[in-house]
Amino acid sequence: MVANMELLEVKGLRTYFPLDEGLVKAVDGADFTLYRGKTLAVVGESGCGKSVTAQSILRIVPPPGRIIEGELLYHRYLQDEKNFTMADIIDLSKLNPKGQAIRAIRGNEIAMVFQEPMTSLSPVHTMGNQIIETIMLHQKVSKAEATDRAIDILTRVGMPRPVQTVDAYPFELSGGMRQRGMIAMALSCHPSLLIADEPTTALDVTTAAQILDLMRQLQEELGMAIMYITHDLGVVAEMADETVVMYLGKVVERADVDTLFYNPQHPYTQALLRSIPRITESRRQWLEAIKGMVPDPYNLPPGCPFNTRCQYAHEACETGEPPWVEVEPNHWVRCVLHGEAARNSGRNEGVHV
């Protein structure tokens, strides 16, 4: 196993959407790193910017959205025998979103699996043709060879009767099978990074369990990194090595998965963990709900975006941006309770679960 080799560094990413109703800061300060062969989970509720972060990496942000600031440093490695040597570093944010350079990466080195397999697959092309197209676009192979590879990859993702399924249209397949097809397409060019945007949310529990197992197993075989976007903390606990929590466009906490669940430091992470019903907890206790609701993206509260719902909110939260603090090695929190000022005044006492 390759020890923590950086694959993608996201630094100070800001992606804004200038709309008629106002400026939506969909991603407003995201910092994290993806490592080779590891899984990073991006957790957050709808509208927190987790999907736009993924779109920014692939440079497929729908207009009028634009990356305003930040770096997306993609490390490209060369493989010989068993050794990886870093070839070069590409800043994805500087590439032309329609240019050759990004198109050579998109779908090839970085691939994506979307949430709803029915809407992201073409209904008028067979499953096989869609995979073959991807392979032929990125690799110089004949159609026959691409077909063989498509069947091979469909076998790998556990598609029953892959030789027949190659000629099936998406509507002929069940939800779980379609999602396997999507994953097959994403993996067809052996990407070094797979971005999975809520790949199991639309599926049933037992099917979701199959897909999660499949992704873990493929990761072991192919050694790719996975950026796993989800709102389900159960999935995070099962899949992730590292986690990033987002709230209203900002990464509010970043830690390894064990730390996140056992020593969360941001009030939002803490509240989220307390509010979910757990299958292991017996019934009839009141849930500790987070008060209020996610603010409207057109008029965010000043200061920390969570200050309207935070149980520790005080004056300092409404003025200025909360600091991005490393509370312990590799554990970052964006909260005034952990800033220099707070540490001096003893404000951060009492923040624990």
């Binding site: 099917t207 606990a237 019903p277 299958i279 292991t280 017996s282 009141w286 996610v294």
Partner: protein, 339 residues
């Protein structure tokens, strides 16, 4: 059973709903999708019965058949009416049905598509009162204001349209509308699955609070087993149109009796990275209700299946008091639950 019948509010016996499959120019019926196939259960007054299963198992269809939002194919739906005592919802003439239905309401899954965008809150919540209770004007407004307050919305908002509200608030509007006629029985059809995690807890707490205050009885249809454990007193598990198990929540989760229940519970990802990750991953897909397998519908995916499971269809039987299961091998198996 007759003596406990007084506490019961609803009893469903042998409920069936078949949807015909039509083909060709003459729309000839070539088959039946057995969405609900001989389902029986009961709900006691003041309790919550969780109805769980995967998509296509017939849980929503069952909920809607009870209200006769869709017409059941066969079966008996006994409801204890405020005035007339036990009535069979299926046999009621339209006038009677309209009256009895005031006591039975539904909360829908998707708060975006279930509220008419061209009606204000006052109209949405007030309409059932105007139609059924014949009250008008100020009286409706007062009652709507009262309801909105009880579900945690500001009464000043009653002249606004649904688009001005977030998902969680819209679901509160849906709850207020369901409560407009003082129902006794509410079908909650996946009421939190379309909501964000941080808002789910608020709605679950609200439903519990209202149940306590108003003495409501819920049929809580959901696929999320964690949510159901939290809210339900008893749980019924469905698979491909059949009920496979029914028990109290305390019994079902730690001691499931049906292999499907066991697999379903083990498939739920636990929000705890230190939890043991041993999952029963079911092979294959949910059976097709238009062309179900022979014998027990679950046998092709069941790891305990034997010859008898392939041949004979098991019936739902009461193994112990309040403990129903439809599995040939229920006595022989010792299954793992969640503690």
């Amino acid at each position: 059973m007759t003596e406990t019948r007084n506490e019961r509010l609803l009893e469903v016996n042998g409920l069936r709903k078949y949807f015909p499959i039509r083909k060709g120019f003459l729309r000839k019926v070539v088959g039946q999708v057995k969405a609900v196939d001989d389902v029986s259960f009961y709900v006691n007054e003041g309790e919550t019965l969780g109805l769980v299963g995967e998509s296509g198992c017939g849980k929503t269809t069952s909920g809607r058949c009870i209200l006769r939002a869709i017409e059941p194919t066969a079966g008996e739906i006994m409801f204890r009416d405020r005035e007339k005592g036990w009535v069979d919802i299926r046999g009621l003439p339209p006038e009677e049905l309209k009256r009895v239905r005031q006591q039975m309401q539904i909360i829908f899954q998707d708060p975006y598509s279930s509220l008419n965008p061209r009606m204000t809150l006052l109209q949405l919540v007030g309409e059932p009162m105007i139609i059924n209770q014949g009250i008008r004007g100020k009286e409706v407004e007062n009652r709507v204001a009262e309801l909105l307050t009880s579900v945690g919305l500001r009464p000043e908002y009653m002249r606004r349209y649904p688009h001005a509200f977030s998902g969680g608030q819209r679901q509160r509007i849906g709850v207020a509308r369901a409560l407009a006629l003082n129902p006794r029985f509410v079908v909650c059809d996946e009421p939190v699955s379309a909501l964000d995690v941080s808002v789910q807890a608020q709605i679950l707490n609200l439903l519990r609070e209202l149940q306590g205050n108003l003495g409501l009885t819920y049929l809580f249809v959901a696929h999320d087993l964690s949510v159901v454990r939290h809210i339900a007193d008893r749980v019924a598990v469905m698979y491909v149109g059949k009920m496979v198990e029914m028990a109290t929540t305390e019994e079902l989760y730690p001691h499931p009796l049906h292999p499907y229940t066991e697999a379903l519970m083990s498939a739920v990802p636990r929000p705890d990275p230190r939890a043991a990750k041993q999952r029963i991953v079911l092979e294959g897909e949910v059976a097709d209700p238009a062309n179900p397998p022979s014998g027990c519908y679950f046998h092709p995916r069941c790891r305990y299946a034997e010859e008898v499971c392939r041949v004979e269809t098991p019936v739902l039987r009461e193994l112990k008091p309040e403990r129903f299961v439809s599995c040939h091998r229920a006595e022989a198996l010792s299954l793992a639950g969640v503690v």
